[in-house]
Every structure is written in C-alpha cells, then in structure tokens.
Symmetry: C2
Subunit: 135 residues, 2 copies
DNA sequence: TAGACTACACTACAATCTCAAGCACACCAG
DNA sequence: CTGGTGTGCTTGAGATTGTAGTGTAGTCTA
C-alpha cells in the first residue's frame, strides 16, 4: 500500500503517518485542547466521520492521541494528545512558520484563486491561545 | 459544500499541500541536492512516475520546486528546490526531531553500519539506505 | 413528547494512487 | 549500422483510499 519502507527510518515512518489525509488537521485541532468526537469533527471542518474515526484509531495506535471513553451509551468520548502528540506542536509550528514566510498571497481576504479552492479553517492558527471554544 | 471558510490561513493551506502523498518524501529527497526525474524517483523509493510527475507539477506551481530542462531531446531535466523549498528543511527537521524523540523502534534494521553514523541531533535528514547520490 | 445530540458501524460510490507499458531520442558495445 | 540501455514523461487499466448518507441506543433540551 503505502511505501514499503526500504529501511526502518523513523523519519520516513513519521512522514508516512503525518502525510495521511486529515492527520495534521486533526492534530492541529487537538492541540487546542481535548475534544469529543463530533466536536473535533467540527473543529477540523470538512472531514467525515468515517475518515475521522479511522484516523483517530491509527493515531491512537501510534501513541499520539489518547482516547477516553467517559460513558458508553450516551456516547461521550474524549480525545486528547499524548505527550508525543503535544510534541507535534513543533512540526505544526514549523509548517506555520514556513507558511507565513513563504506564502504571501494569503491576505485573509476572500479572493478565490483560479483552480484553487480554499477549504475550511475552523481555527485560525492553533497555538497556545485557545479561541472561544465552548469547553 | 459543508465547508465554509470564513477565514482561511496559510497554515491550513500549507498543511493541505504537505499532506499530499509523497510530497514530503519528494522534498526530503530533493533537500539532498538537485536530481533528474528518474533519479528522484529512485531516491524517493516506491513512487511511480505518474504520481511523481503530478506532484512535481504542483510543487513547481506552488513555487517550491524549480524545473530546469537542460536538453529536450536527450531527455535531461533537473529538479531542485527553490528558496521556499529549501526553507522546508525546517519542517522536515521538525518531523525528524519528533520522530527521533517519539519513535524509537528504528534500531532494528537501520542500525548504523561500520563507519556510519546514526542521525544525531540537529543533523540534516538523510535516510540510512539512501542511494549514494551518484551524480 | 418531539427533536437534537452523542460516537460510531455500515454500505455504495467517487476520487486518488499504482502498475505496466510505451514513446522519441542519444549514447555505447559490438 | 544495429541493438540494448537510459532518459523524461504520458496513457490506460486496475487497486486502494476517502466520501456521503443512514442507522443505532440512549440522554438532554424545549
């Protein structure tokens, strides 16, 4: 499927993980604080529940996210980053840094580029400062 | 559809770019120096030419990679990172850093051979099984 | 009491990625 | 000169992945 690692390079492995669709968005949303499933889905914006569940399962298996089932039947779960997950802040940070220094065409104005479509952006930039999220 | 972008940030945009399959691998391989098409394909390892061509086209359009056609008919092209592309080293580096601090199962097969040195802190990323850059 | 909400399983369908082959030409061995 | 290999890149079939939509059991709100 994915790359059959020619070598067990942790970097290669991590790229393989982070390059999966929505993973970085999920981590970014989760850096903002723990969230429930649907809450997270809304925060990420545009991901569908099937994909989100799959990504969370893998992220949990990789030890990036920890899942806490608070109540089974009134479904209430809480996803939050583990230490390793929080450490990903550095990666997001590097991306944010690159983005700001490289892309200069983003003026936060609604200028739809040709052929390019901006997706969603529920949160501005997930940094220590938490937007007014009800939590 | 369901996605409504009231404010899209460059970070989100960059994540969308970097999260595409193979993009990070390509950038990583290209950080090692300029390469030709097939050479790059081999360096990345496991990507097929169709996907690689598509990724390179997008990367070029985004201003990350520059393509130099040296001779049309004896096909010889050179892909290399632009300034913005080289700046991605920071991102790769952050990932490498996270990988090293988080995953530690790389000691299985990627053990440093004789005379070889393992990745040290703050070292540019280079995979252990990389082809010896014969160029 | 009706409706909304919770987290997820399930199915059918679309988008994407991959494999394999091929093109047009240059270079080198024979 | 002929054949084989290498180059960059395209095309078409096929596998893999992501998606929308719906349903479930129970609780919370109006």
């Amino acid at each position: 499927m994915t790359v059959d690692d020619h070598a067990f390079c942790p970097v290669h492995d991590s790229i393989d993980l982070l390059q999966e669709k929505w993973v970085l968005h999920i981590v970014r949303a989760l850096l903002d604080g723990p969230r429930g499933f649907n809450e997270l889905s809304r925060a990420v914006g545009g991901v569908n529940t099937t994909t989100l569940a799959a990504r969370l399962e893998r992220l949990e298996r990789e030890g990036v996210v920890s899942k806490t089932v608070e109540s089974t039947m009134p479904p209430r779960t809480r996803y939050e980053l583990t230490e390793g997950g929080v450490a990903l802040q550095g990666v997001i940070d590097a991306i944010a840094d690159w983005a700001r220094s490289h892309l200069k065409r983003c003026a936060t104005a609604a200028s739809p580029g040709p052929g390019e479509e901006a997706h969603d952006a529920a949160t501005p930039v997930a940094f220590p400062a938490a937007p007014p999220t009800a939590r």
